[in-house]
């Protein structure tokens, strides 16, 4: 038989290249980061033009109003990277080509994390620039943009990974996206119902970490707790890491 091999054993680099190719060759995953970019910068323009800030808001907080929607987009991206494969049955081709399912999940995680981190970072920096251009001299504090923008980017990447885990567990796009949006929005929506516990319920959510990082006036200790921005972000990263480990365990055991 003729050989078409360029290398003997399939390594993680091959799996990563395959997952990267998949992500940019379907419209849904190709467009999500762009939508995310438009959301972050679009809100900055809107807030800058309408001056819709609280007096005690920072320019950073105002111009990153869209970060919350970007986070939702990130979770959708994470879901779509894997759920479409289960929906179409392509996952069988994937696991036949790469029987090491943990490696497949890890490669998808790298793609999601890198794309979401980069998109969110660029989006946040641009949004902050827009806000600074439009709001400087209006009497708002500017806020500490660095290293907050890095934290925002990490937070979006972590939420994307949470979406990836959920998509792989539920194996259904709509179900996973709905659940993911619930996970992101419900803690702050229903937080007030928990009374004194609100600080814990809402404060431990990915949304709270983002609000703290953007230093918006919404992030008061009464609603999101007194845990600092960086510990909150670490908590979100712990959620994602735990979810991914559990997902890897499940995906390796489950029939496809």
């Amino acid at each position: 038989m003729t050989t078409v091999a360029t290398k003997d054993r399939v390594g993680f680099g091959n799996v990563l290249a395959a997952e990267w190719t998949k992500a940019w060759t379907v419209r849904s995953t190709m467009w999500t980061p762009m939508v995310m970019m438009v959301l972050i910068t679009g809100f900055a323009v809107f807030v800058g033009a309408t001056r819709s800030l609280q007096p005690d808001d920072t320019i950073l907080g105002g111009s990153l109003t869209g970060a919350v929607t970007a986070q939702i987009a990130a979770s959708v991206f994470g879901v779509l990277v894997v759920s479409g494969e289960f929906g179409s049955g392509t996952i069988r081709a994937t696991f036949a080509a790469t029987p090491r399912r943990g490696a497949v999940l890890a490669a998808k995680a790298v793609v999601v994390a890198v794309v979401m981190f980069t998109t969110a970072l660029i989006g946040s920096v641009v949004a902050y620039q827009i806000g600074t251009e439009m709001l400087t001299g209006e009497g708002y504090a500017s806020g500490d943009a660095f290293p907050a923008v890095l934290g925002i980017a990490v937070c979006c990447a972590a939420v994307g990974l949470l979406g990836l885990a959920l998509g792989a567990v539920l194996r259904h796009s709509a179900a996973a996206i709905t659940t993911m949006i619930g996970v992101l929005l419900l803690p702050s929506l229903f937080g007030p119902l928990f009374g004194d516990l609100q600080r814990w319920v809402a404060g431990a959510s990915p949304m709270a970490a983002l609000e703290k990082l953007t230093q918006t006036s919404d992030a008061s200790p009464d609603t999101v707790g007194s845990l600092g921005a960086w510990p909150s972000l670490s908590l979100v990263c712990v959620y994602s890491a735990t979810a991914l480990v559990l997902t890897a365990w499940l995906v390796r055991r489950r029939d496809t």
Partner: protein, 314 residues
């Protein structure tokens, strides 16, 4: 070489594949036959490591599938032609597959050319017909130039020319020394393509033998006769214990007597014969007869409502 040893897979306590042992050898097209729900697709998924066996094991060239260093270079599989993300082009579908196993990009163009999809390679597969989907699935199976091919119903949805093309392709691949495992519901096609047969029913092995041997062993001797004097011949033959059934265009099928005996009886009784031809059974006839006992989806009574078991996996 694919080797299954006591391979078993149960879903909710009911075995879909039941202590199945067989070998699929190189250099031949091996037909994989069985009624719907007999466990063919499950067996194929077990071979590819997509489902984990409840018991036993299956090896590819002496190793479990999961231990192959570059699976696509050893095994090419077509399980479901529709299992492709419909928003991705044929080219990109093959491209990610190639990258996953470190195959050269030119292989993508080569296999697209080989299956006749080069002109639609950049189109999203959403608009593909079932036949085009099968060709894409075959391209994916051939991508790594593997020594083993596993194809589940590859001729589904293909036109006559396409079916003929697959037949030639598979026979050619086997002639090159590759192992080809093929399932199909088209018995006439299977009879033309396969050299060897593995037949299963209710997850169990019913036969593992050559095509010729399978047909010879399981055929009933049947002779086709044609005569202007039907009533007399029928009576004469039935008196000697034969079973006589009407066949198409005024001919009759006689079983239980050899052609020589029928000829002799006709001569003795001075009955004119227009045709006297021993018939070899087709694969379809032999297969139908053999698997009747193992059929799970049998039409029940006059209403012909399929009695489908609720727990059967699709």
């Amino acid at each position: 070489m694919i080797e299954a040893m006591d391979l078993t897979k149960s879903y909710g306590g009911r075995p879909a594949v039941d202590r199945l042992s067989f070998r699929v050898r190189p250099g031949a097209v091996t037909g994989f036959l069985g009624p719907n729900g007999a466990g063919k697709s499950t067996t194929m998924r077990l071979i590819l490591g997509l489902d984990a066996p409840t018991g036993g094991r299956v090896m590819i060239n002496g190793r479990p599938y999961g231990a192959l260093p570059a699976p696509l270079r050893e095994v090419g599989a077509l399980l479901d032609a529709k299992a492709v993300h419909s928003g991705r082009s044929a080219y990109h579908h093959l491209l990610w597959l190639a990258r996953s196993n470190g195959l050269a990009r030119r292989r993508v163009d080569e296999v697209l050319e080989r299956v006749g999809l080069a002109s639609v390679a950049r189109k999203r597969t959403r608009g593909f017909s079932l036949g085009m989907g099968q060709r894409l699935g075959l391209a994916a199976a051939l991508l790594g130039d593997p020594g083993i091919l596993i194809l589940d119903e590859p001729v589904n949805g293909l036109d006559t020319e396409g079916i003929r093309w697959i037949r030639t392709l598979l026979k050619g691949l086997a002639a090159e020394g590759r192992t080809v495992l093929l399932s199909s519901h088209l018995m006439s096609e299977m009879e033309l393509t396969a050299d060897h047969l593995i037949v299963i029913g209710r997850g169990r092995l019913l036969a593992d033998t050559t095509m010729r041997d399978f047909i010879d062993r399981n055929s009933r001797a049947v002779t086709l006769v044609r005569t202007p004097d039907t009533a007399r011949l029928r009576t004469a033959l039935e008196e000697r214990g034969a079973l006589v059934h009407p066949h198409e265009a005024g001919a009759w099928l006689v079983s239980g007597l050899t052609a020589a005996t029928i000829g002799k009886i006709a001569t003795e009784q001075r009955i004119e014969l227009h045709e006297l031809a021993p018939r070899t059974s087709s694969l379809e006839e032999v297969y139908t007869q053999m698997t009747e006992a193992a059929v799970e989806y049998r039409a029940s009574g006059e209403g012909s409502v399929p009695r489908i078991r609720a727990e059967t996996m699709s």
